[in-house]
């Protein structure tokens, strides 16, 4: 408030011609005034709702709101409304529910994990090593599922695109679930009722596809993770996206 009054007084007290012998304070006020006029032309572009208000709201003069930062990049960083917008956007779904969960109970007595006798263990009368395999490739934009026999010979391929979803809708958990249901129905049709599942990738369809399989009537016996995790980035991936 005091600063604004000082600026007003200085503006009206000085003549139109700028004197070389004016004090340093006046020179500063003149230069600020010039920059404020330029800022006023940009103010509707830049003024975020919750930046620091340098006037107390009682001003009748239509002047530009002055920002603390004059550099655009620094202004953007302090822009709380943009941060609020980003925070309010839906979270990216990578199908990794349980990744940060600490209270998942695990019973040590039941055989939850494989051991040396697993390949010969029977599930519905079939050896584990002879069970058909369902491979799920869950990418951010699509989910592709294949059913193959125990040798790895692929019998059925199905994906969200083939299911009828197109473009962005392929990369959703609903699409993956629908794909899983259809694949399960087709798999049961060719005689694959009990299956072991392999999952690769982090995408919305990672968990939803397996859920779809069980909803379609398939008996999922085990879940294996086959996500390729390179420890050396080779071939060199693309550069980061600038958001």
């Amino acid at each position: 408030m005091a600063l604004k009054n000082l600026a007003r007084r200085a503006f009206w007290s000085l003549s139109s011609s700028f004197s070389r012998h004016s004090s340093g304070l006046d020179a500063r006020i003149i230069s600020n005034r010039i920059s404020v006029n330029w800022l006023s032309s940009q103010s509707d572009k830049w003024w975020p709702k919750n930046q620091l208000n340098l006037d107390n709201g009682t001003s009748t003069v239509d002047h530009a709101r002055r920002h603390f930062q004059t550099c655009a990049t620094r202004l953007k960083k302090g822009d709380l409304s943009r941060a609020q917008m980003v925070a309010s956007m839906p979270k990216l779904d990578e199908g990794t529910q349980g990744e940060k969960l600490f209270d998942v109970p695990y019973d040590e007595q039941t055989n939850q994990f494989p051991d040396e006798g697993t390949p010969n263990r029977l599930f519905d009368g079939i050896r584990f090593a002879d069970l058909p395999i369902c491979d799920i490739n869950a990418t951010p934009n699509n989910t592709i599922m294949t059913l193959s026999n125990s040798a790895g010979c692929v019998k059925i391929i199905h994906s969200c695109g083939r299911e009828g979803f197109k473009n962005t809708r392929e990369g959703t958990n609903i699409a993956a679930q629908a794909t899983g249901i259809t694949l399960a129905t087709r798999g049961i049709g060719i005689g694959m009722k009990t299956v072991r599942v392999t999952v690769a990738g982090l995408g919305p369809g990672r968990m939803a596809a397996i859920k779809g399989l069980t909803m379609g009537g398939m008996n999922v016996v085990s879940i294996t993770d086959k996500t390729p995790v390179p420890w050396v980035a080779h071939p060199r991936p693309k550069k980061r996206r600038k958001l």
């Binding site: 529910q97 349980g98 990744e99 695990y106 390949p119 584990f128 085990s222 879940i223 294996t224």
Partner: protein
């Protein structure tokens, strides 16, 4: 890299009582806590050497801080009591 591991033995969880949600959560928790997903996400886009150095230094500082904080917590939680569960 994953192809080097024994197929269907490593990174495998059995589904119990047809509860696939639980099985998914178990495998995600184990892999997440071991750092597989973080490494996967890091390699989607190239991480420049200066960014890698920043991250590693940050992780080192965080590890030192956590170690000291945990020591402090254990120290503060000490109690001079008869062991309520002897032999466990």
């Amino acid at each position: 890299m994953m192809g080097q591991h024994a197929k269907f033995i490593a990174r495998t969880v059995f589904v119990q009582n047809n509860d696939i949600e639980q099985a998914c959560r178990v495998i995600n928790r184990i892999m997440g806590s071991e750092g597989w997903f973080d490494q996967f996400r890091r390699t989607r886009r190239y991480e420049k050497p200066y960014m890698a150095r920043r991250r590693i230094n940050f992780e080192k500082c965080k590890a030192i801080y956590n170690e000291d904080m945990n020591r402090k917590i254990q120290f503060v939680l000490r109690a001079n009591r008869v062991d309520p569960f002897p032999g466990c």
